[in-house]
């Protein structure tokens, strides 16, 4: 029963992961247990919690989370197992014998009530002044168990100072109930390992290395901890008050760009089933709130494909034809600011592999305060540029000092899906009921390729659609059914794909034709690409590259910091589960299929911007000035 396969430090927060058996024959069959005197057949090794779910019995949980390994620390899920003196945590108890379980005895109910009472006694704050009011697991439990007073008292002062040092994540440990989901998220799910339990007994709290503020440790701002926090102990740094101020200021020209993932998820904040896209309803709502212009980040996603794709071709040419040893391959995507910071901290020696192209958010930021400002005669000084993102790391990204190539702060505020929903509600708007409207010019609608940036594999798929058409002259539809590159889709942690480019060539379009003297070197070549999402998977790929393994032979690798890609980002609605992320992905892919325009290079607005503004073409001087950037070797130590 050796279930601890992976011995990486620190393991303390990973007590004995019990893998859920899926293949019954592989694990030796099933077992019959009695739950509340009803017989249930379950696979051997199933936890009591899962067995109860199968039997339709609900058990309250707090520290348990579908994405995370088992902790068994909150004890709210305890049940009685016949013959055992103590109650058992159902989330952590694997069934290996025909036991008899009771889930609602007086002892169980009393224990659960006591545990809630104890948590409430140390949980500082009142629900009505809390950002998670109405979406708090502790509050729900208190309601479910009819708590009508503080049996064991209630703290009247905060025990810990709020850590507001990070651009992305605010830590309010006085609200922490020590479920350790954040710790397990950070160490196990993301393998970043910024958060850990510190202190013993009643001094136990979650903190960072040497109890430093979050801004001074190697946090990558992915915000996955926020998504899994049952209370408001972790929350995003909310700029909505400043945005309201800008909107209310008649001198300010407030524009917003919206990323693809929030549209596929914001419905959840309005009580709708996950997986309903509200793209055009959102456009109307944003206008009614008072944004002067609403732009589609997918436009710069398309632009990213052109710039990043061009960069890749240049790199490949230099390395393969020019035998230039200084060129770093594989090229890594740079759209995910969590991933970028992860690489800066953990693998700074690979920064040259990172595409110099900015993320779509930052590209848009510099275009708005240059191209758009010129075109519309707006003083860039008066523009307040907001980005609606599924992401908490975008808040950090827009505050990076180098992100001011327009001469101003390129993007003023990064706003999460949750915060946007709050603003919409505050404005008295019921989003699902909004009429539909389009994005504003001069950027207009973008392609489906930009849209699927929201899902893991999306950047790669978009790039493949464009690159194969650029090089082979064939239509992506002729190579991939319906232009869907399914091999890079889905939630497998790491995906790998080889694309033979064949012998039929060109003509290579004028946009990039001038980049290399001739294109014959690509004849018969095979493009090797990979996709990894979640930094734990990124780590596997990076370690393989370091060791000279299969991924070191790749040409292009997409990395996303968050599990599932942006749709599972740290700014997305809470809760998050594999099922919810799946539905968001379905919404994104369905919207892509419904569009006429599904390739970045076919986007007429892209063609136009290269005609009107970036006239020297992709990866040219101006594009480098505005659309590309550089990175910081951070390492694991921060001064």
């Amino acid at each position: 029963m050796d279930s601890r396969k992976d011995y990486r430090a620190p393991l303390s927060q990973q007590p004995l992961t019990i893998e859920k058996p899926t293949d019954l024959t592989a694990i030796g069959g099933t077992i019959t247990v009695e739950i509340n005197e009803k017989k249930v057949v379950v696979p051997l090794g199933t936890t009591i919690l899962d067995a109860c779910k199968m039997a339709g019995i609900s058990i309250p949980t707090l520290c348990h989370h579908e994405d995370l390994c088992i902790a068994g620390v909150c004890r709210i899920c305890v049940v009685e197992v016949e013959g055992m003196r103590t109650l058992q945590a159902s989330c952590a108890f694997p069934i290996t014998a025909p036991i008899k379980i009771k889930t609602s005895t007086p002892m169980v109910r009393k224990a659960r009530r006591h545990i809630i009472d104890l948590m409430l006694s140390e949980h500082y704050g009142e629900c009505y002044s809390c950002v998670r009011n109405g979406n708090c697991e502790l509050q729900n439990l208190a309601k479910e168990y009819g708590v009508d007073g503080y049996t064991f008292g209630h703290v009247d002062k905060p025990r810990y100072e709020i850590d507001r040092s990070s651009y992305a994540v605010i830590r309010d440990m006085s609200k922490c109930i020590l479920c350790k989901r954040c710790v397990r998220t950070c160490i196990d799910l993301q393998e970043v390992g910024v958060l850990e339990s510190i202190g013993r007994g009643d001094m136990t709290h979650i903190s960072t290395f040497l109890e430093k503020p979050l801004s001074d440790v190697i946090c990558i701002n992915c915000g996955q901890c926020i998504n899994r926090c049952p209370t408001a102990a972790l929350r995003a740094n909310d700029p909505s008050d400043e945005i309201w101020r800008a909107i209310d200021d008649p001198k300010k020209h407030v524009v917003i760009q919206t990323a693809p993932s929030p549209r596929a998820a914001i419905c959840e904040e309005f009580g709708m089933e996950a997986g309903t896209s509200l793209t055009q309803e959102l456009n109307t709502a944003l206008k009614r709130i008072g944004f002067d212009k609403v732009f589609d980040t997918n436009f710069t996603a398309d632009l990213t494909i052109i710039e990043e794709g061009t960069e890749l071709i240049i790199r490949l040419y230099k390395a393969l034809v020019g035998k230039d040893a200084s060129v770093s391959l594989p090229q890594f995507t740079s759209c995910s600011p969590g991933w970028v910071k992860y690489l800066e901290h953990y693998y700074p020696e690979y920064l040259d592999n990172l595409s110099s192209a900015k993320s779509p958010q930052q590209m848009f930021g510099s275009l708005i305060k240059t191209f758009y400002a010129q075109k519309n005669g707006v003083n860039p000084e008066d523009i307040v540029s907001v980005a609606l993102m599924p992401c908490s790391a975008k808040k950090f990204e827009c505050n990076r000092p180098e992100m001011a190539d327009s001469g101003y702060k390129d993007v003023d505020y990064g706003l999460t899906t949750r915060e946007m929903a709050k603003m919409i509600k505050e404005a008295g708007i019921n989003l699902p009921e909004m009429p539909k409207s389009h994005f504003d010019d001069p950027f207009g609608e973008a392609s489906g390729a930009g849209l699927i940036f929201g899902a893991t594999g999306g950047v790669m798929e978009a790039a493949i659609r464009t690159i194969v058409e650029f090089i082979t002259g064939a239509k992506a539809e002729d190579i991939f059914a319906n232009a869907n590159v399914v091999d890079v889709r889905g939630f497998d942690g790491i995906k790998y794909m080889e694309i033979p480019l064949g012998d039929k060539f060109g003509p290579v379009p004028g946009l990039i034709a001038h980049l290399v003297p001739n294109w014959d070197w690509l004849k018969g070549a095979t493009l090797k690409v990979a996709v990894a999402h979640g930094t734990a998977n990124a780590k596997k790929v990076m370690d393989d590259i370091k060791a000279g393994g299969k991924f070191s032979e790749c040409h292009f690798i997409e990395f996303m910091a968050c599990p599932g890609g942006c749709l599972g980002g740290g700014g997305q609605p809470i809760p998050t589960t594999p099922e919810i992320r799946m539905k968001r992905a379905q919404a994104i892919y369905a919207e892509d299929e419904s569009l006429e325009l599904r390739k970045s290079h076919e986007n007429p607005h892209i063609t136009k911007i290269y005609e009107e503004f970036l006239t020297e073409g992709p990866c040219s001087h101006l594009s480098h000035k505005l659309l590309h950037t550089h990175y910081v070797k951070r390492g694991k130590y921060i001064i």
Binding site: R4, Y7, V73, T86, K110, E122, G153, G201
Partner: protein, 400 residues
Amino acid sequence: MIMEKTKREGSVIFSEYKRGEGIKAALGKKREDILLELRESKIKGRGGAGFPTATKWMVVAASTAEIKYVICNADEGEPGTFKDRVLLVDYPELVFDGMVIAGYTIGASRGIVYLRGEYEYVRKPLEDYLESMRKDNLLGNNILGKDGFDFDITIRMGSGAYICGEETALIESLEGNRGEARNKPPYPVNTGFFGRPTVVNNVETLAAVSHILVKGGDWFRQHGTDKSTGSKLFSISGDCEKPGVYELPWGTKLSEILFLVGAKNTKAIQVGGASGICLNKTQFDRTLAYEDAATGGSIMIFNESRNMIHILKNFMEFFVEESCGQCTPCRIGNVKLLEGVKMIQSGEYTFDYIEKLIDLGRTMQVASKCGLGQSSPNPFISILENFKDEIFNGNGGYNG
């Protein structure tokens, strides 16, 4: 060897034993027979929980895993116990031989002593002792000429956390992690040190095993009671003339102990350390045994000059600090119990609320993740129950 060896009296643990004797006896037997011998002896774990040693070993012996471990729990953190130190200092041969026997029986080749952080000064002499065992081929490869039986012992230091005496927290600590109890099941016998089947035994259990191998399970069973076989080392401290480590058969009455150690005007006896139960005069005819007043060895005697609520406060402060802090009932529950004790001291309490706290203590006993939280309410519940006249009637005074 370490200090001048005090001559100690006892019928089992302190009976005659020559270094290597037990190992020799074990190597002459089949592994199954050793397990049967242990089962015959009916020996149960000496650390406090009282799990049958033979059963524990059998599970690990039956495992087909290639790598297995023997861990000697020498964390001895329970307030009021010091008998393991005596064994390690004066009778290391018993403990180490027991580990070698365990290694042979279950098929392990590595033993680890998890030594209490405060016993740092014992480490060097023990290392020297292990070295001398290696010289005599009582450790190392092909021990005593037994082909293929390799076994060695290393000593690792704890760092002073009480929780690390809990076997799974101990293993976490050994692995280099924060000392926190794991979920059970799976137990260490299945998934222990670095995921391998592991036997974790108390120092005294291993010492007893060495004797059993030489003298037999029958002999061992002749001591003690039916359900609690053998004898036990008790660490006796507090208000008495002759505190110290005593070997007495299980089944000894508390009143006999009081006589033996010269305790006078005894008001209370805390059996089993801070996490044990506190008994009053009317309960002194109870016997020390797994089936009656169980203990890992700690006996604390308090005479009439002591204030029970002070004693309780001391215990609860200990648990508030020493809870590992991972599970809710233990981390916050102990704080609430301590608050209750302070309320009683100040006189600002209601019986209704104290009842609620006792009820909470009962929840902690069944809902906490490990033995720490499951036993920390014991002194709270037993002292308030057994000394309610003193505590709630003001006879003993709770304002000083």
